[in-house]
Amino acid sequence: MLLTSLSFLAFAIITVLLYFILPKKCQWLVLLIASLVFLFYKNLSIGTIIQALAVLLSSYVLGRQIEKNKETKKAKRYLIIGIAIILGILAYLKYSNLFIITVNHILDLFKVSYQFKQVQRVSLIGISYYSLIMISYLVDIYRGTCKSEKNILKLALFMSYFPILNSGPFIRYENMKDELYKKHKFSYDRLCSGLVRILWGLFKILVISQRLGMYVDTVYANLATYNGFYTVIAILFFPMQLYTNFSGSIDIIMGISEILGIKLPENFTTPFFSTSMTEFWRHWHITLGAWLKEYIFYPLLKSTIMQKLNTFCKNKFSKKIGKKIPMFLSMFIMWVCIGVWHGGAYTYIIGSGIIQFIFIFLEDLLGPIVSKINKKIGIKEDVFSYKLYKTIRTYLLFSISMIFFRATSIKNAIKIFLSIFFYNPWILFDNNSIYKAGLDLLDFRVLILSLIVLFIVEKLSRTGSVREKLFKQNIVFRWGIIYALIFGIVIFGCYGVGYDPAEFIYRGF
């Protein structure tokens, strides 16, 4: 069910109505039924039911056992079994082809002509989200930071809470249990605020992201025709397309959750204002970063092997280097995990994993040197122009890494990268050439105007909630903005006849 579809609109309205009309003690049951409808929508089969039940039952049973056997070795054994089951199901459904491709490459290297065929497996929506969520549930019980859930249906709701299945954010049981199961009163103010957030999400997806996608898709699909500056523009457009698409869908689900009275953690805080890649990742897909830090990076860093490596490096090199080597090694593993999580393809592992690590590693390595040089030659780092340069540099670096993320294969990514060097700057000036790659002049105008609106809103949001600021304004201005938003979406949105439905880039994960 696409978040921008009328079927989702109807689904959300019915859910909200039932949630507040039925007795409050039934609220969490309404959510559970809605979540199951969303989870199995057009995807109900014995296979998908088994997938979901396997994760739910193993988490439930093993969670209870871990708690019962706290302080014993059994607890660790149960935790490992639980994680293995969840990751096993995830790997079987999502990464079989990555495994087959790797084996085929190895066979190729040894000149074995046999090749394994790739397989098509049907997985449930949000499998990558609920798998990690349930792993964190088991680990938290093991760590003693949360108690196991006694009611399996309540655990099922935590696992399948429908707003997060589409594109996150990652939630933790300890933070969500009260939110999900407590009784919520209807609030008119929350309704208004939630609706405005939903509208803003729709604006980002339908007006900006879909429009950017029309250009990006055209160029990426026709590299023989569109190269040079066409490709440069497509490469620069894609991160913005990804951001407006992803954060827009987060806005929609946060809006719905807000109406229901359930607070979810924020996943984006204006990432494109970041002046470094390290800062960027603190503002982009925040909950994924937090999850990986909490459950992969820190445990790895504290592991016996890393501690030994730390000591070894301290003795071999210096205290500073000794500290950095295990840290970067753990970080590398974490970034590879991020890449793998994004999908069963090497393009994801490189684009959203390894390249990001390289940039962050280089920033850490070269940052102090650059600062020293700047000081020596008199370049001020605390002025607007330098911050602007660093912001643009961060955007460019992210754009380059996203070539791999967007490309269909590594070969394709290299081809895209090389096509940048085709010399055709005149397409920006002559005979409207630029308007022949999926977006005409009027579309470009709408795009530029909506990007300006996005910039203003993002800028304002750095000093507090824009919606709170809006609701403090007088009624004429406030309603004017809301009407403009509604008609902006309805008229300038890319939907309906002549457009592909707004597919969510992050939905596949």
Binding site: D440, V490, G493, G496, G498
Partner: protein, 354 residues
């Protein structure tokens, strides 16, 4: 108490917000939508039409309702769209009953002989788009589209026309903001309908060929509805070119309709019309303004003589019909530098001579 007052205030505010939203919505989409004959029909004030004339393009191109009014004083609403699917006719009649209570329905039979799956998106939209939102519209769309190759999840684009027309902001011109210049109470007059192109219109064959099952069912459902509602109805086969198989099917349809005690006029068999295939067509299927003037004068006279239709020409309530006729004359003059009245006189003379 204070809380209740506060709550009521919020409800009132929301209601006002929604009303403004609705007004803006209607206003904006009126600009974005393409105005056609059907939208002209729904502009008529309630219960002011004496006749409702339903059918495909042969209705709004052939029957000049303001001329008929000028001659005899009765008002005819044109509920017509290019390539209007016959499945829609029953629902269009239902829709018109919500606004009008005419003493006569005229139904053009042209499209009953064609397969029900030949219609393009544009042709479907011609029929559906101007119809106000209602359950009847929903049923009309469902029943019309079920014969097409569309999947049911594609129907949504037809239920909510803004899915299609929101994108027409790119093609906005002056025409979007003003009343249509070429439509006169639904009747179309433009440079194309002024052309004279000689056509090879054959004689009317008397043979009979059965209708396809689907078409037969559609006709039957329509007749059942007319019976049920006890509506006074006249069926017409317009003067135009038909293929042989279509003629045979049309004969079958006529027979079936007559069996149910409804009248059918086949204008292809009426010599007195004075329409000749050299001068009075602009293409094989449509009369030009010269042919349509003859057709209107003949048919309006027939209706005046055979039905008890009122004369509204001295009633101020019907001033818009006089104004439309004047606008039509001006437009004709603009396009041809000639007086429309002269054409009417010439045509009347010709008809009288026959």
């Amino acid at each position: 108490m204070l809380e209740r007052k506060f709550f009521m205030l919020k409800i009132v505010k929301t209601a006002i917000f929604l009303v403004i939203l609705f007004i803006l919505w209607v206003g904006i989409f009126k600009i974005l939508w393409i105005k056609d004959s059907t939208s002209e029909f729904f502009k008529e004030p309630k219960n002011t039409l004496d006749i409702v004339y339903v059918g495909a393009s042969n209705v709004y191109i052939h029957f000049n309702s303001s001329l008929a009014y000028k001659k005899y004083g009765f008002t005819t609403g044109i509920l017509s769209a290019g390539a209007q699917t016959p499945v829609a006719i029953e629902y269009l009649i239902k829709e018109s009953q919500k606004y009008q209570s005419p003493s006569l329905y005229i139904i053009d039979l042209t499209k009953f002989v064609n397969n029900l799956n030949i219609y393009t998106e544009g042709e479907f939209r011609n029929t559906f788009d101007a119809i106000p939102f209602s359950w009847n519209r929903f049923e009309m769309i469902n029943n019309s589209l079920k014969y097409s190759n569309l999947k049911s999840d594609e129907y949504m684009n037809y239920y909510f026309s803004f899915f299609k027309y929101h994108n027409s902001w790119k093609k906005i011109t002056k025409q979007n903001f003003i009343e249509p210049e070429e439509l006169f109470k639904g009747f179309l007059l433009n440079t194309e309908t002024l052309e004279r192109k000689s056509q090879n219109i054959g004689y009317w064959n008397k043979e009979i060929e059965s209708l396809e099952k689907d078409n037969y069912n559609v006709l039957n459902n329509l007749l059942n509805y007319l019976d049920k509602e006890n509506l006074n109805c006249l069926f017409v086969i317009p003067k135009r070119g038909f293929y042989l198989s279509e003629i045979k099917k049309m004969n079958f349809i006529s027979k079936e309709i007559k069996k149910r005690n409804y009248s059918v006029i086949n204008f292809n068999e009426i010599e007195d019309l004075s329409i000749n295939s050299d001068n009075d067509f602009y293409n094989l299927f449509h009369l030009n303004i010269y042919g349509s003037t003859k057709y209107t004068l003949y048919f309006a006279k027939y209706l005046h003589e055979h039905y008890d239709l009122p004369d509204h020409r001295n009633d101020k309530k019907y001033n818009s019909w006089d104004k439309t006729y004047e606008k039509l004359k001006e437009h004709y003059k603009e396009l041809t530098q000639k007086d429309f009245e002269e054409l009417v006189e010439e045509s009347t003379l010709l008809l009288n001579n026959n």
